[in-house]
């Protein structure tokens, strides 16, 4: 990189600068216009009152006060937030837990492990809209594949998406099916980097699978666990498409599947059922979601990185 100045610079400094600038210009213009400016505006707009698309006046923290402390908005906010937190915990346990076991199984490189990797990753490349609708049909109380299968063993029809106790779990299940391949292959890649000698040495010392998995592999794949945890967190707090497709814009039944992404979309762009459309409150929600995601990610990164070193 530092092998001196190029002769082009000496000969035609302005031509060289112009050439470099024109290489950078298109990407920079797009980034400034469509990322930097909207992002800065998002923070500013949260402090304004809106009439349709037009900000009409500065109102300080009023939008935040409403979504955090004034019913019915605050009730909706906390209900949605609760479901995002449940989603994160559930996905960590069920999606990433399963992924860890699968990755460990695939690490053995038994016959068929390559084709299994391709299979488990297939749903990942499909749109959440396809996956959501597919599982919505399969979870249909009368004609869905799931209840038809359960009927074979004598279990009666369960209204998976219609019952407020099972709806969120059902939507989460579809999400696990959709994304399982991603953490599986990320963790597998992490495990494959653990040196063969370390594993062999532990085996010779008489370590069984359980000890190998918990005492050797687990600490050594800490960096992969960090990245999977953070991506799961970001995914859980930006969760939108599968709940939208399977449970609708209001998170039916009765808000049992409502999440911040849906609530934000309803607030910002309105919905036929709630009738509100408020860019100010929407911006306040977006700012809070941004702060939650960025803040927790930063803190978690520090904590998890320290843990990586300690382990």
């Amino acid at each position: 990189m530092n092998n001196g100045r190029r002769h082009t610079k000496k000969a035609f400094p302005w031509r060289r600068s112009l050439w470099i600038a024109s290489l950078l210009a298109p990407a920079l213009v797009v980034m400034v216009l469509l990322v930097l400016w909207p992002l800065l505006s998002a923070f500013r707009l949260a402090f304004y009152e809106f009439n349709g698309l037009q900000p009409t006046g500065f109102i300080g923290f009023e939008n935040f006060r409403k979504v955090l402390f004034e019913q019915p908005y605050s009730g909706w906010t906390y209900n949605a937030l609760k479901h995002n937190i449940i989603a994160f915990v559930a996905l960590m346990v069920f999606e990433n837990g399963t992924a860890f076991l699968l990755a460990y199984a695939l690490l053995k490189a038994l016959p068929g492990h390559r084709i299994h990797q391709v299979i488990v990753f297939l749903p990942v490349v499909l749109s959440a809209v396809i996956v959501g609708f597919l599982w919505k049909l399969f979870l249909h109380p009368l004609f869905g594949l799931v209840n038809q299968t359960l009927a074979l063993v004598g279990i009666g029809a369960i209204p998976w998406l219609g019952n407020e106790h099972t709806a969120l779990g059902s939507v989460l299940f579809a999400n696990v099916w959709h994304w399982l391949g991603f953490p599986t292959l990320v963790l597998l890649a992490g495990m494959q980097r653990v040196s063969k000698e370390v594993i062999e040495a532990a085996r010779l010392d008489g370590a069984g699978d359980y000890v190998l998995m918990t005492k050797i592999i687990w600490p050594l794949i800490a960096p992969s666990v960090t990245i999977v945890t953070i991506l799961t967190f970001i995914g859980s707090f930006n969760w939108f498409e599968i709940p939208y497709v399977m449970a609708g814009l209001t998170g039916s039944p009765g808000g049992a599947t409502d999440v911040l992404g849906l609530y934000f979309y309803r607030t910002a762009f309105g919905s036929t059922t709630t009738g509100i459309q408020d860019f100010g409150q929407g911006s306040a929600l977006a700012v809070m979601m941004f702060i939650i995601v960025a803040g927790v990610t930063a803190i978690a990164l520090r904590y998890l990185r320290r843990r990586e070193i300690e382990l």
Binding site: N2, M31, S127, L134, S224
Partner: protein, 282 residues
């Protein structure tokens, strides 16, 4: 000694058997729903409801014909192809240009420019959708292909610049220097000497961006309202609304929507997997 070795071996066999059983079960859970989806697309409603596990009585294309003639499916498909191709092409073009400047030339602010692009990777653009919407509205780009494509380009540039810069930096200096000695212009050096070497990175960047753009639902939902401009995932929601009770047609729509990317994936599964997991594996 031999007894313990023997026991160890059969224990190993048992353990591997258990692992294969678990993997087999998982493979069924992943594949069977998709298999049922495809099979149901050939069935009539009555068949789906009464014999969900059976193969179709005959492989009828009646549902596919209805999707073709009674819906805007083909239009949605064409829109998705056009938007994805345009966005990926622009991402490759803009970010390769920028990455080339950062990787191959020394200039003041070069580190700062790279930092600016990299910080874009951490921005969830979805959360800036309100100002983005206002911005595009003032440019007259709401409900247009151009507006949607621009948003995707903005979303794709940061990580593409990151990957391309990393790759372009690894190319040897000598090639470039000797061409320069021969009097080749800077543009010619970039176009004919350096960029042909960057093909593997282009494939990764293209897949990494094409898959989320092809599958995206959020941005079309907000930015596109005309039925003729809708993308495939967005069109599916219209379609499902129209054919709620006609499961044969619904399964056919889902199958056809999943088909293009599934075919590509089976051919290029290695590139897909490394492209999508790229950011998480380091």
């Amino acid at each position: 000694m031999s007894a313990t070795a023997h026991r160890g071996q059969s224990g190993e066999l048992l353990r591997n058997g258990a692992i294969q059983l678990m993997l087999g079960l998982n493979a069924i859970i992943m594949i069977y729903p998709l298999f049922v989806m495809v099979m149901s697309s050939f069935k009539t409603n009555a068949e789906i409801f009464s014999s969900p596990f059976a193969l179709p009585a005959h492989f009828s294309l009646a549902n596919a014909e209805r999707v073709w003639s009674e819906t805007n499916f083909v239009r949605y498909l064409a829109n998705s192809v056009g938007i994805t191709v345009a966005a990926v092409a622009l991402i490759l073009l803009f970010s390769t240009m920028a990455a080339y400047a950062i990787a191959r030339y020394q200039f003041r602010l070069s580190a700062l420019v790279l930092m600016f692009f990299l910080s874009g990777m951490t921005v969830p653009l979805k959360l800036a959708i309100i100002p983005l919407f206002i911005q595009l509205d003032s440019l007259g780009l709401v409900d247009s292909y151009a507006g949607l494509v621009l948003v995707y380009v903005a979303m794709g540039i940061p990580s593409a610049v990151f990957i391309m810069t990393g790759f372009l930096r690894t190319l040897p200096r000598e090639l470039e220097e000797s061409a320069r000695m021969d009097g080749a212009s800077e543009f010619r050096i970039m176009r004919s000497i350096m960029l042909p070497l960057a093909r593997p990175a282009f494939v990764i960047v293209a897949i990494q961006n094409a898959v989320p753009i092809w599958n995206d639902f959020f941005f079309p939902l907000v930015l596109i309202t005309s039925d003729n401009l809708k993308t495939l995932p967005q069109g599916l929601t219209v379609f499902v609304g129209e054919f709620t009770t006609d499961w044969g047609v619904l399964f056919t729509g889902l199958t056809l929507a999943a088909l293009p990317i599934t075919l590509l994936y089976t051919v290029l599964s290695k590139q897909f997997i490394s492209g999508i997991t790229q950011g998480a594996i380091k």
